[in-house]
């Protein structure tokens, strides 16, 4: 079946075998996006986080059929390497990246927080990121990066 997704402001047509396929697989295997990442497939680690109509969702368990006409935003939709979004820039400025694999989820989750709470407390940041895993242990810098982004916003 044909599915049309709106991703980062562009319409993309996909051939889909299974409408229950989670969004992540369509974004990665179908559209060759690599902001959203496969980490657990079980909504346990947050690496796959994208926004659907501005809300952070775990795309590894979010069925394609639930997206409907929703607007999907991925990390690629925020900014580019050359022109990063202020939140992306804050992660650079705090050197918050080690291996970088969790960073998609951290940024997309933090973006959803800052959209609703522009000046969060440290506790609010940690609560928002509590379901996102990082194995390199760069947690403290991630929190600092979100704080910095909130400051410059």
């Amino acid at each position: 079946m044909k599915v049309t997704l709106t991703v980062n402001g562009r319409a993309a047509d996909l051939d889909v075998d299974d409408p229950d396929m989670p969004l992540l697989y369509a974004l990665r295997d179908g559209l060759a996006l690599r902001g959203p990442r496969f980490g657990c497939g079980l909504a346990q680690c947050g690496a796959c986080t994208v926004h659907v109509d501005g809300k952070a969702v775990r795309s590894c368990v979010y069925p394609l059929r639930s997206v409907g006409k929703g607007k999907v935003t991925t990390l690629e939709g925020l900014g580019t390497s050359a022109h990063p979004h202020p939140l992306q820039q804050a992660f650079i400025d705090e050197q918050a990246v080690q291996c970088g694999y969790c960073i998609n989820g951290m940024i997309m989750q933090a973006k959803a927080l800052l959209d609703s709470t522009p000046h969060p407390t440290e506790g609010e940041i940690k609560d928002a990121l509590a379901r996102n895993l990082c194995r390199c242990g760069t947690h403290l810098r991630i929190v600092r990066a979100v704080k910095r982004a909130a400051r410059v916003a």
């Binding site: 075998d17 396929m21 690599r34 496969f38 390497s81 242990g137």
Partner: protein, 775 residues
Amino acid sequence: MNSMDDSDVQVINVSRRAFLGAISAVGLVLVVGCSRRDTASADPPKYGADSMPHGWVDNPLAFVAIAADGTVTVVCHRSEMGQGVRTSLPMVVADELEADWRRVQVQQAPGDEQRFGNQDTDGSRSVRHFFAPMRRCGAAARTMLEQAAAAHWGVPSGEVTAVNHEVVHGPTNRRIGYGELAVAASHLKVPAGDTLRLKAPSQFRYIGKGEVRLVDGPDIVAGRGMYGIDTVLDDMLFAVVARPPVYGGKVGSYDAAAALKVPGVVKVVEIPGTPPPSEFQPLGGVAVIARNTWAAIQGRQALKITWQDGPNVVYDSKAYRATLEQAARTPGEVVRNQGDVPAAMARAARRIEAEYYIPHMAQTPMEPPAATARIVDGLCVIWTATQAPQATRDRVSKRLAMPSENVTVNVTLLGGGFGRKSKPDYVVEAALLSREMKGVPVKVTWTREDDVQHGYYHTVSVEHLEAGLDAAGKPVAWLHRSVAPSIRSIFGPDPRHEAPFERGMGLVNVPFGIANLRVENPAAEAHTRIGWYRSVSNIPHAFAIQSFVAELAAAAGRDPKDYLLELIGPAQRVDPRTMGDSWNYTESPERYPFDTGRLRRVIETVSREAGWGRKLPPGQGLGIAAHYSFVTYVAAVVQVAVSGKGELTIPRIDVALDCGPQVNPERVRTQIEGACVMGVSNALASEITFKAGRVEQSNFNDYQVARIDAAPREIRVHLIASDFDVPLGGVGEPGVPPIAPALCNAIFAATGKRIRQLPIRDQLAAHGSQPAANG
């Protein structure tokens, strides 16, 4: 395949090209490196990088290219997994080259140790072993540029100097850029290593400064980083594999009918396994190949497989622990012995005994293992996240019966490694499946369940310690029995004993001035794949020894920090061989003695910086631990707060580290910060258990690692300054081992509860907070 972004295609095309082809587009034309050291000849003993397969290469023709526009490309031959090596090593080259970092780009080397030297990115070795060769590499290229400029102007080469991407003729102040010199320089002879003029440390532009940012940072935060799992090729297929749940098991029979009905599934095929010891070869099983990863996963769920489990079906973590404990209470192979421990024990005023248990753990890098392979015209091309590019190439070539030169291993970013990606079984799977599909590109993705249940696990161990104290509470006898299955069991018949490299990780090389000291290693049989996990055997050894020292201090009524320093005794440089350690992290015992003065200094530094002895509210405590590993000295003070309900928080960790000179201090700090969190994960939450030979955990819901709320609230890293004439120590791993014991010592200080079994999990729940008797 529908690409959202044209640059996706471009990235693939770049990595598709042969490496020389990609590089020959730029000015300083490269030839195959030729200064490979012969590491095969036997005498005299070789240490450090010389002792590694294919040693080191410092030939600028292998590592540096300069384009006509002056863009400098530096090749990084070690794998990037978050430690920052793609920044740190090229930065070293750039510094000696007098290159402007803003005009430097980094290119990842494929697996080819003949050209680049050893590429095994493990053992905390990359900067330690390649700082010197990369300096020479940069200095040689700089010298060639200077010689080319001197020839261009017809002046003596002594009158010209390279400064920030150009060569200057002092007497006339003429200047010429690197880009203009590149072609002429490329025709010059590479100067011999011993003729090179290296910078004095005062002249370093980037080395030791910590101001260079990660080269991959901007791409990673924008979703442009290329990891092993990201490879997308035209007409590629996607696979997952159902592997035998028990190590050494195999497929009895299977029914693929339902799987083949899943829309998108293309083929189901059996992969033959390798019976134990299976080294880096696949476990075997049944692969489902599909048009996307989801279909492959759905297809796998629909498979009906009857497994033949084999002898390891008996593996049961509860029963195995009892076996280990029994072994630890019985004399075993003596691996270090001085004085007369039984006699001293008999004379001792008091005897203290404790046993510690440290379970299996899984590395669980955030990016699970994944690899893509394509075979065309007898050439196999791999894209993967691997810590061992050459080992990967060798294993693929062997399994495909293809000459090694016909296998290209392109190394992507690694979404974490921690030792898991040193074992390329997943890459061999991809190669076999591509061959099965007549060479069509196939990507094998390990789901998290695959990663948790079919890994190469950190060993499991019981550490049994006994000490005899004199009337003053000072140890006069020390007995340590360590029992743990060995990593060697994946390579050959199970030796049932720890290897010299495992014993050298803090078991035999205890730096204590105790006259009667005996270390034994009773036998333990492996029933699963044992593999390197960040810091390896240092984790159980440091946990047991540093916990036990604190227990002795408590028994003696002494301050744990003072007691630890007294045990270490006065500063001295000890030959590791005299402590029964013939391995010494492959470093020379003369250049790298065990310097107890440096161990003392990190303990003194961290105590001072952490405010050791400061008054804390009830339910809080400080714990200290120190450990030498990867030829680096580390001490940690952990502060804990334990609530009345037994909830643990970690307000702060201080770490002092002496790794010799810090080439990239910012990356050293981040590695230590990360080590603190991983140490906390190991201590609090992580455990793999087996029942009926099968791993009981499956994903991050039941294999726990520290999340942001469990992470320390504050981490302070105190780096010991060091001259550049001191040999370099490792950085990636040595931060981990002292964290768990310091944490448990802090819990004791806070509550009086002694933790002897990891993970802590809910051991504090029943306890709550009580003032400690001591500490």
